[in-house]
Amino acid sequence: MKLLYFAWVRERVGHPEEEATPPAGVETVADLVDWLRARGPEYAYAFAPGAAIRAAVDKRHAKPEASIAGAREVAFFPPMTGG
């Protein structure tokens, strides 16, 4: 699947997007965050516990318990500040 990062999540991770193949057992947005957090210090920093991070699965807002089964694109970003 494609992972996208925006705003300070992008800055902390160090790149705007990447391809990733999470292992079996990574079934929800929250699982994916846990898996990413263990990938390296930049991910641990971006996804530090308590950081206000939102997610979208295939361009729709998704809660931590949302399934990522079959997802083509998962995005992580801070709470929105447009308008």
Partner: protein, 152 residues
């Protein structure tokens, strides 16, 4: 009914005039234009604002919010324009127009569109001042403004 995502500035007056031209069934048009303020959230003078966005999702979310507004109020037309990229103080950022036979629907729908857009459309503001850049933090008051539409 349309949503537009663009880097270029827009002319709010020209957009409103174009929307209302020849629409004799329309008795009310409400427009809102959000501008880039000179003062950063820290109080320091702002050099520029950079709006980052997730373009495909932003278009989809704006269209979804607009469809929701049309389902709730009898609108003859609506337009949402949101800019991204680097914006200087005094320039427009966002435009919402709602047209209806009567003013109540137009006023309410315009406010609804802005309240929802602020909390669900994927845009992020970064302020640029002489001290450097910083990401704008989301405000609880904006969440509260969007939430009140869920209660009615």
């Amino acid at each position: 009914m349309a949503v537009r995502l663009q880097r270029e500035p827009f002319d709010a007056g020209a957009e409103a005039a174009r929307l209302t031209q020849g629409r004799e069934e329309v008795g009310a048009v409400v427009t809102f234009t959000g501008l880039c303020r000179r003062g950063a959230d820290s109080g320091a003078p702002l050099t520029a604002l950079t709006l980052e966005c997730y373009p495909e999702m932003a278009e989809q979310e704006l269209a979804r919010i607009e469809a929701e507004a049309r389902a709730r109020w009898p609108l003859a037309d609506a337009l949402v324009i949101h800019r991204h990229g680097r914006i200087r103080p005094g320039e427009p950022i966002v435009f919402v127009a709602t047209l209806s036979a009567h003013r109540a629907a137009a006023f309410e729908a315009a406010q609804f569109l802005m309240d929802y857009l602020k909390t669900s459309a994927p845009f992020w503001k970064q302020e640029e001042t002489e001290e450097g850049t910083s990401w704008v933090a989301a405000k609880a008051v904006d969440d509260d403004a969007a939430r009140r539409w869920d209660e009615g």
